[in-house]
Structures are given as C-alpha cells and as structure tokens.
Symmetry: C2
Subunit: 234 residues, 2 copies
C-alpha cells in the first residue's frame, strides 16, 4: 500500500443516499471497500442494486454480510408487520425502524475498516428528508465516533477511524443534485421498502415518497420503475 | 408481561465470565435472554457450552446469531494466525483481539433488548485479569452506553437500556468466588482459544492461563479437562 493510498469502508444499501456517499468518497480519492447486509429485509432486491453500484464504482472489495435480524424482529422491514402506505413524520419513529440497525452496520464497518487499514467509514445518513430514525441524527453519529475511538486497536494507537456523514445536513433534492454533479446514474439504485415480485417500486411507502419528492424538488427525472403506469415518471 | 417482570439480554460465550454475569443477572431477578455468536471462531466448541449454560439457567430464549467475522479476519481467533502459547500482557493488544467484536456483540444485544423489552444487557467484561482488549475497559463501556441511549427508540423514549458490567473491577479469582457463591458449576464452561479436536483445553493460551491462575488464586478446584495429564487439576 502506497503512503498516499486512502481507503474507506462505504456502507452500501443500494439506495440513493449510500450511492451518493460512495460517489463522494471516490471523488475525495478514497479507495472504496463496500459493505452491505443481508439482514432478512423484505426488500432484499436492494442487494442486487448494491452489487451493481459497487462494481460501477470499482470497489476494491464488496462484502455482503449475513445477519439474521429477522430473528430479532420488531420491524416492518424484517417481519410481516405491514409497511405503511404513506410517508411518516420525523416527529415519531415509524414501524419501519429496525432496532439498532445502524449501530450493527457501523460496528461491522468498524471491524472491516480496522482489518483493511481504512481511515474512514462513509454512511449516507441524513437528518433532513428522513424517516425519523434515531440512529440517523448527528448526536448519535458523534457518540458512535467517541465509542469507536475507545473500541479499537486503531483508536488506542491514535489512528481514529473517521465516521463520515457527508449527507447529514442535505435535503433529498440536494443529495440527488450532488450525485448528478458527480455523474451518479440513479437508475442503478433501489429505494422501495416493499417492492413487487418483479422488483418494481410501490411508489407509496415512506422511502418511495421521499425519493419521488426528492427527484421532483431537484428538477431531475426519476428513473425509478414504479408498479402501475400512473407512477412512472420517466 | 407482569409489571414487575424485569428482562435482560445476557451475552453468553460459554466461558467463566459470561456465565458468572448470567448468574448475577438471575440472582438480581432478571429473566435472561441469552445471546451467543457463531462468528467463525476456532473455538466454536464454546457454543455447546453456552447452550448447556443457557438451559441450566432457564433462559427464556437462547439465540445464537451467525456473523462471519472470519471473512473480515485480522485475528488469531478467526484466521490461521497461530494462537500464542503464553499469556499476553495488558500493555499491548494481542493477536487474539478480534476487531470491534464487543461493539458488534453489544450492538446485536441492543437490538434484541429493544425487541424483547429488556431493560438491561449484561456483559462479562473485566478490566483486571484480562487480555488487554480495548473493548473491555470502563471508558469504552460508558461510551457505548451514551451511544446506545441515542441509537434506539427505547433511549429516545426515556427507557435507557442499561449496559451492565458486574465483573469489570473483579479479578478472575473474585469472579470465580462470586460464581461459586451463586452455585455456578464451572464444569459447564469452556475457555480455551485453541482446543483439541476432542474439546480438551490446551492449558497454555492466554485464556487457559487466566483461567488456571484464577482457580488457583480462588483456592477452588479447576474442573477443566486439559490436553495431557500434567495439566489436569481435578
């Protein structure tokens, strides 16, 4: 590894936010190690998107870890609890919240970052156009950083692994505009929590609504394949 | 669930420390939800011990989650890097350190605790007779607690899930004496990092040395089955 080489773990869900975070990491010169999770999510189709995206960005490694969070349950994303057909409000935590998900994902990213000598972890959380999940807020990320510095050999030896959240204060429209500016092809991405068997998006869940409104506000064409003609916005 | 019912997730590795932490949790009146991990460890025989122990303590649930940390590597416990045949020093972090292991384990425990309405997580870390892992120290645990309170629905709603470390300032001998006082049968437990195919302990790795010295200092018989007659201390 050359002295100049900078490596980063990038958490990749296959959606708009993590793909934009990946584009930003690459634009900053980081060599990306992409990390995805098969966690029993009903929208496992997102993992195919993550794989396409990691390949498109020449990730040095794309690891998809299996963790059966559906055995833990308590979320509409990992059980048969229905996914609400309307956008939630950030004032209350919706049933799509998966207990401690970002903490589990960041903990595994921390392990991979330490093992691969990465100096940063990129996570595409945003606290603007978001679903109200507690583990997307700046105070949470700051607390994770403090904990991570105490948890690892890297931290003890003074090589802090930086938790990078380049999207945290951006609206969905700003995220999309940033990505377009970096040449991201959002047709590769998947957002829907409750896709049809053919992978098409429902157009009505929280994640779809945030995505559609984001493209509209950004003044950009939404390349999503929605179930049913009225939702197609190509 | 009755108003009085108190539940706790207990991280169970099958060793002395976590078994004692489980006994303490039960003695305090918690209903235990045991959580173990099959993470590609070379001493996976410890999981059979964890199962026996969870059953002996009437755990309401014993979940063993698979997370392939051997794919992440960088530890003698999950790769072919040899396990040292001598006790390490707490002054440096040994090769048996598994990157971010306790953070990953605690993150999953946090998810299970939230999903099962548990008010505490018990983890048998100790910062006295230990291997020098950074993620066993009090400052780390305190930082995890702060992060956990911000990460979860429970934390946001004012129901903090307490990270309990009843052994953190106890020597191995004091841990064993505490367990014996609570009726723990340590013959159920497994400590060795590098056991023989028949499950017998090597008697020489860091974990074996801490265990043997602990029983000796506690003035208690060591029920461990060591490989080779000279190590048998029954």
């Amino acid at each position: 590894m050359s002295v100049q080489e900078q490596r980063a773990v990038v958490l990749c869900s296959g959606g708009i936010d993590s793909t934009t975070a990946l584009a930003i990491a690459c634009n900053e010169g980081f060599i990306p190690y992409c990390l995805s999770f098969s966690y029993g999510q009903r929208h496992a189709v997102e993992l195919q998107a993550a794989e396409r995206i990691a390949r498109a960005f020449n990730a040095r490694e794309h690891m998809c870890l299996d963790i059966a969070l559906d055995r833990i349950g308590a979320s509409a994303l990992t059980t048969t609890i229905p996914v609400p057909r309307a956008a939630g409000s950030a004032d209350c935590i919706p049933v799509t919240y998966v207990p401690a998900r970002n903490t589990i994902f960041l903990a595994c990213a921390l392990a991979l970052a330490e093992a691969r000598a990465c100096s940063a972890i990129f996570i595409g959380v945003t606290a603007v156009d978001y679903s109200g999940y507690p583990d997307c807020r700046p105070a949470y990320i700051e607390a994770f950083q403090r904990m991570a510095d105490l948890a690892t050999r890297a931290g003890v030896e003074g090589r802090s692994i930086a938790i990078r959240t380049p999207l945290i204060s951006l609206s969905k429209a700003e995220i999309i505009q940033t990505g377009i500016g970096l040449g991201v092809d959002y047709a590769m991405t998947h957002s829907c929590y409750d896709p049809a068997a053919d992978g098409s998006a429902c157009g009505k869940c929280d994640s779809c609504v945030l995505r559609r409104n984001g493209f509209q506000a950004a003044g950009a064409a939404d390349p999503t394949r929605y179930a049913g003609a009225p939702h197609v916005r190509l």
